[in-house]
């Protein structure tokens, strides 16, 4: 059941094709660091287990990752992969999605009731409630959301928070809770000080839960509750905190994510991103966790935005024909073409 794609169960193949339809549903609701070209085995396994209602398998997978290797050989987060599998099921884009999400709320509540000491069970229920709240709000900017929809959104988020509070003692033993809490805090306009305190506690609980860094950075984008300066301060502190493991890698990843989620091609104009540090970060990651095509393409994309032609040429040469468009932002084909053309100009 947890094997690679070649040994995937028939129902899982159906699930994959069904769930693929919903992949873009929540772009505005979560940091874009989850965007990847191919699903990992961890992500597939989580999606399959959740889709078929196998809570025991999900709990086992979560425990294995938390207590085993949290970082993939290419430096990406295995916990992130696992949670992407959960998100794929929560984001299933079907008709009558309200009913679908109501069922997931009910199902995850039953799992939590049946497993009252499972932090993951409570966390998954909160996750489901949060996803349901976003269904009411939609992914538009706040100014485009109707007051009724916003009220329902806040009401549902409050419901998620109330549930969290009632089970906080159990839930906070898993940093999954902190990721959920940061999502709630962003929706309910909590102060950056509160958000930092949550993140600190989560990282003390699990220093390898890099999702926490991305959640905080996402909240500090100007379109949410931050400023370029606040974002820069945070990214620098996150890079320092994670330095022993990633060097300046987290600096590169968080600014790359900030480009995808907010600044777009104007990253270096509108934020305090320092290309030299980003470049060093990508190199640190490559030295410590080599072999990520997704990251190599992201590196090239950032080099293009930074107008670093020699680096871009070197990276395009390494990429060759194996372009991974998942690393090239929101309009990847066009961006690749424009960057290539610019790099070739003398």
């Amino acid at each position: 059941m947890t094997g690679p794609a070649s040994s995937m169960q028939p129902w899982a193949r159906i699930a994959r094709s069904v769930l693929a339809l919903g992949a873009a549903a929540m772009l505005a609701a979560a940091p874009a660091q989850a965007a990847k070209k191919e699903k990992s085995a961890v992500e597939e396994a989580a999606m399959d287990a959740f889709w078929s209602g196998d809570f025991a398998a999900l709990e086992r997978q979560n425990d294995d990752i938390r207590h085993g290797h949290s970082v993939n050989p290419d430096g990406s987060s295995r916990l992130g992969d696992f949670r992407d599998g959960l998100i794929a099921v929560l984001d299933n884009d079907v008709e009558h999605v309200d009913l679908y999400l109501s069922d997931l709320d009910a199902l995850t509540l039953r799992w939590a009731q049946d497993n009252p000491k499972s932090a993951f069970a409570h966390g998954l229920h909160v996750h489901s409630l949060i996803r349901h709240a976003w269904f009411y709000r939609g992914g538009s900017y706040a100014r485009d959301v109707s007051p009724e929809a916003m009220n329902e959104f806040v009401k549902q988020m409050q419901k998620a928070l109330d549930y969290f509070k009632a089970h906080a003692d159990v839930e906070l033993t898993d940093s999954y809770a902190h990721v959920q809490l940061l999502t709630i805090g962003r929706a309910l306009d909590w102060s950056n000080t509160q958000m930092s305190a949550i993140a600190d506690d989560g990282l003390k609980r699990n220093p390898d839960d890099t999702d926490i860094y991305f959640q905080v950075a996402f909240n500090l984008l100007p379109k949410w509750h931050g400023t370029p300066r606040a974002l820069d301060d945070y990214i620098k502190s996150a890079a320092e905190r994670s330095g022993p493991r990633f060097g300046l890698g987290m600096y590169a990843r968080l600014y790359w994510s900030a480009s995808d989620d907010g600044f777009g091609p104007r990253l270096f104009e509108d934020s305090f991103a320092d290309w030299n540090k980003m470049k060093q970060g990508f190199e640190d990651l490559e030295a410590r966790y080599p072999g990520s095509a997704h990251r190599l393409n992201g590196y090239a994309h950032m080099a293009c935005l930074a107008k670093d032609k020699p680096t871009l040429l070197k990276l395009l040469d390494r990429i060759g024909d194996a372009v991974d468009t998942s690393g090239w932002g929101k309009d990847p084909e066009r961006t690749v073409e424009l960057c290539r053309r610019w790099a070739m100009q003398s």
Binding site: Q9, W11, A15, G53, H96, A106, L109
Partner: protein, 413 residues
């Protein structure tokens, strides 16, 4: 069973038959079918053994403990070896009976014994084991979705499904459960005493009624569906019968848990699950037979359909399946049928004696329910707006076979 049917029926529907007929081409001379020779009987035995073996495959991709795999393979090999000895005996016995009964239908010996084998597979699926086995099986089905995810062609998952359930049991329970499996396999070819009846309503009918309520009232934690079921049944509003096998199995598993939570007795819930997931003869072969409907048969079926009479299933013609289905339907205030189900099945199949033809008992279910929803109401319904009527399924002496349907009558039967 001495009716004389038309001389030669094209029966190339299933892969098995295609292979068999290829080897039997030399004996397909018209008009009078001669009794099969010893050589032909041996070829029949070989073909039935080939298809039976498929139902005992354990694909390498199945995640089984090595020891369990070894024990299961050993159990399987012994059973198939026994069946290889039994099949020629069954064929000879059937030939003797048909000769005595003056049955002169081509391939009827072959079909009769194949029907017996298909029926043994079905009986094996619905027959309970001892108390400990039942308890362990119920525990697995209540908690382990992996029981619904075997690899391979879903028409041949008989043995793999069972072994996956053993895999999900605690190691201490496995040995006892394997012993029970051995005992249940030893029942093949024997009369079954006290075989549980079909659940009424079928679990899919009861479960779908719950789903319809959930569509209107919303889900509750106790009844919540797994995401795959919620997506198919609540969000997309698909019908149970359109689900793929694996999802149907998950549905049956959900309903087992839900019905237990609602107070259904464990034995009844387990029986419902077994009938709900049973691979019937129609499940295995029905589509293949229908694909091979001849032009003349298709035309006659269309003519029958125009008169509101369901066409006789090709599989039922081939296996000589006849009998009666009792249909119960519910009418709305305007007298329009809104729901139909099969309340009772009285079916006979050539070759199946001394045991219920479980594999074939649902052969006419889909047609009966369809008819129940479309046939005109000519009799007054009961006070609760339900109506019972019987449909009689008889093979006609000429191809294509059609069925006779009695008039709907007031439901007190």
């Amino acid at each position: 069973m001495t009716r004389r049917r038309s001389g030669f029926r094209r029966i190339t529907a299933a892969g098995l038959l295609a292979a068999y007929l290829a080897s039997a081409a030399a004996i397909s001379a018209e008009p009078a079918p001669a009794p099969p020779s010893q050589e032909e009987l041996a070829a029949m035995a070989k073909q039935i053994d080939t298809v039976l073996t498929r139902s005992f495959e354990l694909p390498p991709a199945l995640q089984l403990d090595p020891q369990l795999r070894m024990q299961a393979e050993s159990l399987r090999d012994a059973h198939l070896e026994r069946m290889r000895k039994l099949l020629p005996i069954w064929l000879h016995d059937e030939l003797d009976r048909q000769t005595a009964d003056k049955v002169r239908v081509r391939y009827s010996v072959f079909y009769a014994v194949w029907a017996q084998v298909l029926n043994e597979l079905a009986l094996w699926q619905v027959e309970p084991g001892d108390a400990a086995y039942e308890q362990a099986t119920l525990a697995v089905l209540k908690t382990a979705p992996g029981a619904c995810h075997p690899e391979g062609d879903t028409r041949y998952l008989d043995f793999a499904s069972r072994v996956m359930r053993l895999q999900a049991m605690a190691p201490a329970q496995r040995q006892a459960a394997l012993a029970t499996e051995r005992e249940l396999l030893a029942h093949w070819g024997q009369p079954r005493v006290g075989l549980p009846e079909w659940p009424d309503p079928l679990p899919q009918e009861a479960g779908m009624a719950q789903v319809v309520r959930m569509r209107a009232e919303g889900p509750t934690p106790q009844m919540a569906l797994s995401p795959v079921l919620a997506s198919d049944l609540l969000a997309k509003r698909n019908d149970y019968r359109d689900l793929p096998w694996e999802t149907k199995c998950l549905f049956q598993q959900w309903w087992l848990r839900a019905s237990l939570a609602q107070g259904t007795a464990p034995a009844a819930a387990l029986n419902a699950f077994r009938y709900g997931t049973m691979i019937s003869a129609m499940d295995r072969l029905g589509a293949g037979f229908e694909q091979e409907r001849t032009e003349a048969a298709a035309k006659a079926a269309a003519e029958a359909a125009a008169k509101g009479v369901p066409a006789y299933p090709r599989l039922a013609s081939a296996f000589d399946v006849e009998g009666k289905t009792t249909v119960r339907r519910r009418l709305d205030a305007a007298g329009k049928p809104v729901q139909a189900s099969v309340a009772k099945r009285d079916i006979t199949v050539r070759g199946i004696r001394g045991v219920r033809p479980v594999a074939f008992e649902s052969t006419f279910d889909a047609l009966s329910m369809k008819y129940g929803l479309t046939a005109q109401v000519t009799a007054k319904p009961a006070a609760d707006n339900t109506q019972l009527f019987q449909m009689v399924w008889m093979l006609d002496p000429t191809e294509p076979a059609t069925q006779a349907v009695d008039k709907p009558k007031r439901g007190a039967q």
